[in-house]
């Protein structure tokens, strides 16, 4: 029943800790202009705009999409704003795809962004609430006990997190847009990185970035007429579960497993490890790579860490993960999910430059947010679904 939809344009900003050289509008336009150029379209060609970002306290502007209308040539068009916490970049891409798949629009521009250096990100992410629990642990403190549980349950050796970190930071050196360009990481150096929230080390932790990612999504007729590369949306899926309830499994949340199973079913994929050629998954703390590999069905339970150790997820491995450098190298919160979805599309489109994997026919994009409770995923492919 759904109309076909393809990504025909991708554009992102130079991500870094502080883009003092541009306004919020300038940051967004940098990504948007590149996406439009990539799609060989102009602003006037766009039918609808879908914007995603995380809490507005990060920039101090409430519902900035209202103000950005002029900058996005959006007057007279539908503008839509998604906010689903950390997964927002991914869910925004899905909502944008639905604008096309519903048959309502033909050319949809979507952008995820965060200019978090404008505000105080640490404050904005955990504004102290009265009557709430005293915050003793900071951001990483929420996830590190979960990681500890995974390590204990799976028997993973302690260097796995560092292996992922070295891989992602090295991959980022092949991505000119990535925030962190740190070419000298070795496993030995990583294991000496300071422990922040035991068992999570500094090198295993994502940065705080300013950045934006934009995609142009098109209906089948528009995509067919487009003479540039394209990535067909094969399937999308989203799932949510509550933050906290008695007995909740946060190592492999059920919402993650249900979302992945739904996605594979819709995409007609029976063996993800065999049928997916490149993965962009949301790994803000390195240990989440082995955890998500298992949760998503790429690796059997308690074997995700073995994939890492065996080099399966290296660029040259059987299942390259985060060749872009991932969230570990670039994390503008509102954009990160769309970066994953967009980088997956880039792999299929063959436009990932130095971090391009050979012969990618199908790629997987993944985003998650909140207390590992919101999940958004898609499969994109070279062929029509």
């Amino acid at each position: 029943m759904a109309e076909r939809c393809a990504v025909i344009g991708v554009g992102q900003t130079q991500h870094t800790s502080c883009r003092a050289d541009v306004s919020i509008a300038g940051l967004v336009r940098e990504a948007v202009d590149r996406a439009l150029e990539s799609a060989q379209l102009t602003m006037a060609d766009i039918d609808a705009i879908v914007i995603g970002k995380a809490p507005d306290m990060l920039e101090g502007v409430m519902m900035p999409e209202l103000w950005l209308v002029d900058s996005l040539a959006a007057a007279g068009k539908p503008v839509f704003r998604v906010h689903t916490a950390g997964s927002v970049g991914g869910s925004t891409a899905i909502v944008a795809a639905q604008h096309v798949m519903s048959g309502v629009h033909k050319r949809v521009l979507t952008v995820g962004f965060e200019k978090q250096s404008d505000g105080n990100a640490m404050w904005a992410l955990s504004v102290p609430m009265p009557f709430g629990m005293p915050v003793h642990a900071g951001a990483g403190g929420y996830f590190s006990p979960i990681i500890r549980s995974y390590i204990k349950r799976s028997g993973a050796p302690s260097h796995i997190g560092c292996m992922v970190a070295v891989k992602d930071r090295t991959n980022a050196c092949r991505n000119p847009y990535a925030h962190l360009h740190e070419p000298d990481w070795t496993l030995e150096k990583a294991m000496a990185s300071p422990m922040l929230w035991d068992p999570v080390r500094m090198v295993e932790t994502c940065p705080s970035s300013d950045g934006a990612m934009a995609l142009v999504l098109a209906s089948e007729d528009v995509a067919d007429a487009h003479d540039g590369p394209k990535a067909w949306v094969h399937a999308t899926a989203m799932r949510s579960e509550p933050t906290a309830f008695a007995g909740r499994n946060q190592v492999s949340p059920r919402a993650s497993e249900d979302c992945a199973n739904d996605l594979w079913r819709k995409a007609g994929i029976t063996s993800p490890i065999d049928e997916i050629d490149a993965v962009e998954m949301y790994v803000p703390f390195a240990w989440f790579e082995p955890m998500w590999l298992e949760s998503l069905g790429f690796a059997p339970k308690d074997h995700g860490w073995r994939f890492v150790e065996d080099g399966v997820t290296e660029m040259t491995g059987r299942l390259p993960v985060n060749c872009s450098g991932g969230v570990l190298s670039t994390n503008p919160i509102g954009a990160s999910g769309m970066l994953r979805f967009g980088e997956a599309a880039m792999q299929v489109m063959g436009i990932a430059g130095e971090h391009q994997v050979d012969s990618v026919r199908k790629a997987f994009g993944h985003a998650y947010g909140g207390g590992s409770q919101f999940f958004a995923m898609w499969v994109v492919g070279k062929d029509k679904p």
């Binding site: 005293p134 003793h136 006990p145 500890r148 300071p194 922040l196 035991d198």
Partner: protein
């Protein structure tokens, strides 16, 4: 017009009023009395301490009867904090743990002190150390931290479902 004007600092100040709501309020009043008062879900009958949002998120139901839990509990998982951050007042490294109070069905977060960080382990039995009564507020900060009781560790099965 100066070419150097690239940034503008615009302070924002907004006053908000927050309400704990009736259900969380009974928990907070318990803290004013040195007690851990949780609430039971009328649908699944599990006990939440603290009664987050006054709701059982699994059932989508408003929590019901008050249930006192603790004072003692078991550490189900923890992390050793080694990073300075905004608002931190305790000397690093220190342990932040999830503690399953006796009688509760979901853990709560708090500090662990009076033990070396390296000696903290899953299953450790702990008890609260309260501030002086005259300092009490409607807040879990009435408890300065939890410390080991010295009891033998709780068996894994007793908290395995809460990891």
């Amino acid at each position: 017009m100066s070419d150097d004007v690239l940034r503008i600092r615009t302070p924002i100040s907004i006053k908000y009023q927050y309400s704990a709501g009736p259900r969380v309020s009974s928990h907070l009043l318990g803290l004013m009395d040195g007690r851990f008062v949780g609430k039971r879900c009328p649908v699944c009958e599990l006990v939440y301490m603290p009664p987050r949002n006054g709701t059982c998120a699994k059932c989508g139901a408003l929590l019901g009867e008050d249930v006192e839990v603790g004072q003692r509990g078991t550490i189900t998982t923890f992390c050793v904090v080694n990073v300075p951050f905004l608002g931190q007042t305790i000397k690093i490294p220190y342990v932040s743990a999830t503690i399953l109070l006796d009688g509760a069905d979901m853990g709560m977060q708090h500090l662990i002190q009076e033990v070396d960080a390296a000696d903290v382990r899953m299953g450790m039995r702990v008890e609260p150390v309260w501030r002086p009564r005259e300092e009490w507020q409607p807040s879990l900060e009435n408890v300065m931290h939890f410390r080991p009781t010295g009891e033998p560790d709780a068996p894994f099965e007793s908290y395995a479902g809460h990891l």
